[in-house]
């Protein structure tokens, strides 16, 4: 076991953290899978509206990488396919019509002894979309062999789903998923945990357990890799969402497809709680728990999640909804405000500001301005990368310099805090994504 302490960073103390208990929720009638949740794919549909599908059936595949097909996350019929501009597929909505799980493979027939067996098995059940790679944060290419695999069970983002609670009953599936994943790589299988959570994992030698301490983004795999095994040029690293481990574990050990997921709902504008739900769950089942009218619903966390409507769905890689108030408040001479409970800042810029449990809103709290390097980004960015220089090389479109400065190690989520603290209100994540796009499409 390796202990890592991250010093630079910041835990955003937003109010509405879900208490560790499950609330009852009605059964999901509609679930969705959206090709928009995956970077750099060209989806080709294999189903049309009205089709009957079973769990695990392929819904669409990636034209650029036809081995990767997306599984149906429910049995039922395709009730609607929503198209956007230029017929981009936005949502494939499935009406759930029966059981929560489906036995697709007798236990005796499961053979996961070699790497190729496992890859065939994943391929057969269309499970590749659960695997994403760094750099670029995209679905893996099954032909690659990753340098290492890393899974974070220590999500540190604000209002994150606390996996030590929500996965607490799924210990055996986590083990079986991890033992199979280990066979996919020659390198290490890193599992990131916080404190004493998941301490049972230390009994297994094949896991390189990393115990992390410190503020967000300490639970991000990019930050951990930067410390233990940096991503070099041409390296490929595979990763999975910690919350998906039981889903894989159940398939690998019992041959059962079960896309259930324990999700958390949190934020200042909602009654926070955990729910036993499933991948692609629809939000409007929970609309009774909203505390106010004018809200923004976010699939994922408040730093990197995506904005959805009230009838929107949980993103594929997400396991939480966050709800914040949409505020259009314009205080008189706000920049002169002395401070108090109505202000939150990483800087010591307000007297007695509320740093315990703050009701964040959608306000940007300032206008966009030219970038002034007051050392704000660096205070919350723990990787040994000159993020400011990197951002400038991206703006200058200089691919060589981006590579030299370590763009492959970064992802949007790692720099989200930089955007949060930036007094010029820059969107650093968008800059990093722009740089990654430039490199991706250049190759």
């Amino acid at each position: 076991m390796q202990k890592i302490t991250i010093n630079k960073g910041h835990n955003i103390n937003i109010s509405g953290v879900a208490p560790s208990e499950f609330s009852n929720a009605p059964t999901q009638k509609l679930v969705s899978i959206s090709p928009q949740d995956f970077n750099y794919i060209k989806p080709k549909l294999l189903v049309k509206e009205g089709d009957q599908v079973e769990m695990g059936d392929a819904l669409f595949f990636d034209k650029l990488n036809p081995d990767v097909r997306w599984p149906s996350i429910a049995s039922g019929n395709i009730s609607k396919i929503i198209f956007g501009e230029r017929r981009a597929v936005l949502d494939i909505i499935i009406e759930v019509n029966h059981d929560k799980e489906l036995n697709v493979e007798p236990v005796k027939q499961i053979n996961l002894s070699s790497k190729d067996d496992i890859k065939d098995f994943i391929q057969k059940h269309n499970f590749w979309p659960f695997f994403s790679q760094r750099p670029f944060n995209k679905v893996v290419n099954p032909k690659d062999s990753p340098k290492c695999i890393i899974v974070s069970l220590a999500d540190s983002s604000p209002l994150a789903n606390d996996l030590s609670f929500s996965l607490s009953e799924k210990r055996e599936y986590i083990i079986s998923a991890l033992s199979t994943l280990k066979k996919l790589t020659e390198g290490n299988l890193y599992v990131v945990v916080r404190g004493d959570n998941f301490s049972f994992l230390s009994d297994y030698d094949f896991i390189s357990l990393i115990q992390v301490e410190g503020p967000h983004p300490s639970g991000n795999i990019g930050v951990i890799l930067n410390k233990v095994n940096p991503i070099n040029q041409n390296d490929i690293i595979w990763t999975l969402q910690g919350s998906h481990l039981p889903i894989l574990g159940k398939l690998f050990s019992k041959g059962i497809l079960d896309f259930s997921l324990n999700i958390s709902i949190g934020g200042p504008a909602v009654k926070p709680s955990y729910f036993k739900s499933r991948i692609g769950a629809k939000f409007d089942l929970h609309k009774d728990s909203l505390l106010m009218e004018n809200v923004r619903i976010i699939s994922g966390n408040v730093l990197t999640g995506k904005k959805i409507n009230i009838d929107g769905f949980l993103g594929f890689y997400h396991s939480s909804f966050s709800v914040i108030e949409k505020s259009f408040n314009r205080p008189f001479i706000g920049w002169l405000h002395p401070g108090g409970k109505s202000k939150y800042s990483v800087f010591n810029a307000y007297l007695g500001s509320n740093k315990k449990s703050y009701d964040f809103t959608t306000l940007q709290n300032g206008s966009n301005r030219a970038f002034v390097p007051v050392d704000a980004w660096e205070k919350v960015f723990p990787m040994d990368i000159y993020i400011n220089a990197l951002a400038r090389s991206i703006e200058a479109n200089d691919i060589d310099e981006m590579e030299q400065l370590g763009i492959y190690e970064c992802d949007e989520e790692d720099v989200a805090l930089c955007s949060f603290v930036c007094p010029s209100k820059s969107d650093v994540g968008a800059i990093i994504r722009k740089g990654l796009d430039t490199i991706y499409f250049d190759k």
Partner: protein, 401 residues
């Protein structure tokens, strides 16, 4: 308040995109967001943002300068009372001084606002609050009765040449406030240097700054003795710290400058690394010169030439005389023109300290070296950063085998 809100909403309609007055949008936006905080929404992740913005950042620097302004005004009155042999009291002195400070402040802000707004309109970008800081700094570097038209030209030069021609805030190489100080020093030397300008007195009244005394001694002695021998002003250490001596408006009171420094460091706006390292650089070089003086005057390296009294200034005296503290706290730490990396900031600051003492002691023409030292290091800051970043690149390449 609602009434004011309504005015902005009504006028806002005229400056929208496509309307004939749309060129005035930056002006409207600037005024609008001064009165009411913007309600601009986040569009995607991060959906929440910190409450700190550039307006408040820049405003905080201005707050840090207010004590310097107050003391500067008082000091003008005090020195004048001394010259005229008057008794005016605290309030009387301050009011007398404000009569000099406020016109300079107005001239600076008018010039600065004209330049900034013009460029905002031409370039179609929002008005950047950074110019407020530049304009608040410039009067503090001036002697009290500098002609206002010179201030006006100097400020315009600083904002345009120091900042706007490089693309505005964020892309400028030189600190705009120092650019105007340097411009005025070279363009109007009679009004901004010498012995006649630092204290307001009767015609022909002369009052040398602390730096000028060891620079132009009637005969060689150590700086401490020269200070003690001066009977016009009290150049004791404690009084140089407190600041009742001739000098630029904002530079003399070291206590209030230190207050500003701690305030800016506490708020996380200015870099303490630059302040500390420039002081270290100054102390290091001053000690080196002290040693050099000891060796050439009393020691083994006696040269026979005229000894330089500037070499005898102790490190603490270097910190207390002239505008070193003011420069390092408010000018050197300007985030855009200083180094952008923390390692770079240590080097950048240290060299400012070194250059300050070198220019002060060795350059015979002008005893104040801080503004030139900072401008020179502004020029080298990108180079320092380049090498710091190259080290990081080399580390990454060496890993990538």
């Amino acid at each position: 308040m609602n009434f004011l809100r309504k005015i902005f909403e009504e006028t806002g309609k005229y400056v929208e995109e496509g309307k004939p007055l749309s060129w005035a949008y930056p002006l409207w936006e600037a005024a609008d967001t001064i009165f009411f905080s913007t309600n601009k929404q986040t569009s995607k992740g991060p959906h929440i943002r910190d409450n700190m913005d550039i307006k408040r950042t820049m405003f905080f620097v201005v707050i840090a300068l207010i004590p310097c302004y107050a003391f500067g005004a008082y000091n003008i009155g005090y020195l004048n009372a001394l010259a005229m042999d008057l008794e005016r009291g605290l309030i009387g002195n301050t009011i007398f001084g404000l009569g000099y400070v406020i016109p300079i402040l107005i001239a600076t802000f008018v010039a600065g606002a004209i330049c900034e707004l013009t460029f905002a309109i031409i370039r179609k970008h929002e008005v950047n609050e950074g110019f407020l800081v530049s304009c608040a700094l410039i009067p503090l570097t001036m002697p009290p009765d500098v002609p206002l038209w010179q201030v006006f030209i100097g400020t315009s030069f600083g904002i345009i040449i120091g900042k706007e021609i490089f693309g505005g805030v964020g892309t400028n190489i030189f600190n705009p406030a120092l650019t105007s100080r340097a411009f005025m020093y070279f363009a109007f030397p009679t009004k901004i240097s010498g012995d006649k300008v630092w204290a307001v007195g009767p015609d022909g009244y002369s009052g040398a700054t602390a730096l000028a005394i060891p620079a132009n001694p009637t005969e060689y002695d150590t700086a401490s003795n020269l200070f003690a021998a001066n009977n016009q002003f009290d150049f004791s250490m404690i009084n140089m710290f407190w600041g009742l001596i001739p000098g630029s408006i904002g530079e003399t009171n070291k206590l209030f400058i230190l207050f500003g420094a701690f305030f800016l460091i506490y708020c996380g706006i200015a870099s303490w690394r630059i302040m500390v390292s420039s002081t270290l650089g100054l102390v290091f070089t001053a000690l080196l010169f002290n040693l050099l003086n000891y060796l050439t005057v009393d020691g083994i390296l006696q040269s026979g030439g005229t000894p330089n009294a500037m070499l005898t200034i102790t490190p603490l005296q270097h910190i207390l005389i002239g505008s070193f503290l003011f420069g390092t706290v408010f000018m050197a730490t300007e985030p855009v023109t200083s180094s952008h990396t923390n390692t770079g900031r240590w080097i950048y600051g240290f060299l400012i300290g070194v250059l300050t003492v070198i220019i002060r002691s060795i350059n015979p023409a002008y005893p104040e070296g801080v503004f030139l030292a900072i401008l020179i290091m502004n020029m080298f800051a990108p180079l320092i950063d380049y090498y710091v970043v190259q080290a990081n690149i080399k580390m990454r390449l060496s890993r990538n085998v």
